[in-house]
Amino acid sequence: MSEHELRVSKIRSGTVIDHVRAGQALNVLTIVGIDGSEGEEVSIGMNVPSDRLARKDIVKVEGRELSQEEVDVLSLIAPDATINIVREYEVVEKHRVERPEVVEGVLECPNPGCITNADEPAATRFEVLEDGVRCAYCGTIVREGIADLIRE
């Protein structure tokens, strides 16, 4: 582990989401549904120098191992992210995020006329395209600013 990464303390057991695009750490937490309200220990490094990305964010979550399905959604905003599962201070698994085919309930459709913006009991659903996402209900395609669509 490099000297820079030590700015954020090591975790004992849990998940380290590394190589997150600079500025996206809080969005990462929103997507994986962690807001600290359940007492999770979370450390965040923002705009940390990185060999691969020049600047990157890093998120460490103590006591929770995120599944591949949970982290794949991150590929929308942090396509270079690497996921490290840590047990007793050792990295036991390391993998990349993969683009899922569909993301459900994570993004809000930017089309104000879309049925998903009408207080109906249906989760949003987006197909993941090569270069963006597409609302499964109204068909709106979003290629830029996907992070702005993340549901609070």
Partner: protein, 305 residues
């Protein structure tokens, strides 16, 4: 048909479309033959937006097949005004009917409704989204007048918000038609639709002037440009006037040109076109009944099997 619901024309293959059109042609030749075929069927009508042709032709179609309709009525007099969600309305009314027809002002409404319904849902228009049954009757009219093979069609007017246009364009991608889209820049086809059409390998060209393509067309499909899309009256009049069709402007067209319009028209087609051989828009509206009879027959028929 292999679909329980009809939500967009994108879901229809060429074979699906031909199945409906062939059945419609049979029914058109002899409506009596199918008069009692669905004697016990009830069609639920959920129209959250005003409609004349679509609603009446669905009602006529169901009744001519021997069935009947249950109608939610106007939104103002329904429980929607009490704040009921569309999902709940659908879950309730599907218990009263064998199939549902839904028109709703929001895009994606029919897709969502289908997720809450165990009976077939037919999309009769969802905001600026889709209107697949209009497309089926449009295709039927095109087939009867110009044929669907080697078709060159010009679609004119409000291409941005016109759901009939989007649905027709998707369906025509199945028939290798040459599609010319003519509109002011501000009302061009949504980029999503162009993206899809390119993905389907459709031949799509966009123009601002109708004169550029008129002489080459087999079919001219005219849609209404709505006043509310423009910031001021003067701009609306200028743009709408540019795309107005009359008998004189059609002199540049092929003698065999078929002129269509989903109706209602305001002044985008002058009345003097009505008396020419080009005019097919009233026939097109009449075709709504046999085509919707065919669709209902296929969707309800599957339930009996």
């Amino acid at each position: 048909m292999r679909h329980d619901h009809l939500i967009t024309s994108k879901q229809l293959s060429r074979a699906d479309i031909e199945l409906v059109l062939d059945r419609a042609a049979e029914i058109d030749r002899d409506q009596e033959a199918v008069a009692g075929r669905h004697a016990d069927a009830l069609l639920g009508l959920l129209f959250f937006e005003p409609s004349t042709r679509t609603k009446l032709s669905f009602e006529a179609a169901m009744k001519r097949l021997g069935g009947d309709v249950v109608d939610m009525g106007a939104v103002e007099s329904s429980s929607v005004t009490k704040g009921e969600t569309l999902a709940d309305t659908v879950r309730v009314i599907q218990g009263y009917a064998d199939a549902l027809v839904l028109r709703h002002p929001r895009e994606g409404a029919a897709t969502m409704a289908a997720e809450f319904a165990d009976v077939p849902v037919i999309n009769a228009g969802d905001g600026a989204g889709h209107h697949p049954t209009q497309t089926l009757l449009d295709l039927y009219t095109i087939r009867e007048n110009a044929g669907l093979e080697e078709l060159t069609i010009g679609i004119v007017g409000d291409l941005k918000y016109g759901r009939t246009v989007h649905s027709l364009a998707y369906a025509l991608a199945n028939f290798d038609a040459q599609q010319h889209f003519v509109s002011p820049e501000s009302l061009q086809l949504p980029r999503e639709v162009v993206y899809d059409l390119h993905q389907e390998g459709a031949s799509v060209r966009e123009h601002e002037a109708l004169a550029d393509v008129l002489p080459s067309l087999d079919v001219l499909y005219v849609t209404r440009i709505q006043r509310e899309r423009f910031p001021d009256e003067a701009e609306y009049r200028e743009v709408a006037g540019r795309y107005r069709i009359d008998a004189e402007s059609l002199a540049a067209a092929d003698d065999e040109l078929t002129v269509m319009h989903p109706l209602p028209r305001v002044d985008e087609i002058a009345p003097d076109v009505d008396d020419t051989d080009h005019a097919a828009y009233f026939e097109q509206a009449h075709n709504g009944v046999p085509v919707r009879m065919a669709l209902l027959d296929l969707l309800l028929g599957d339930l009996d099997e």
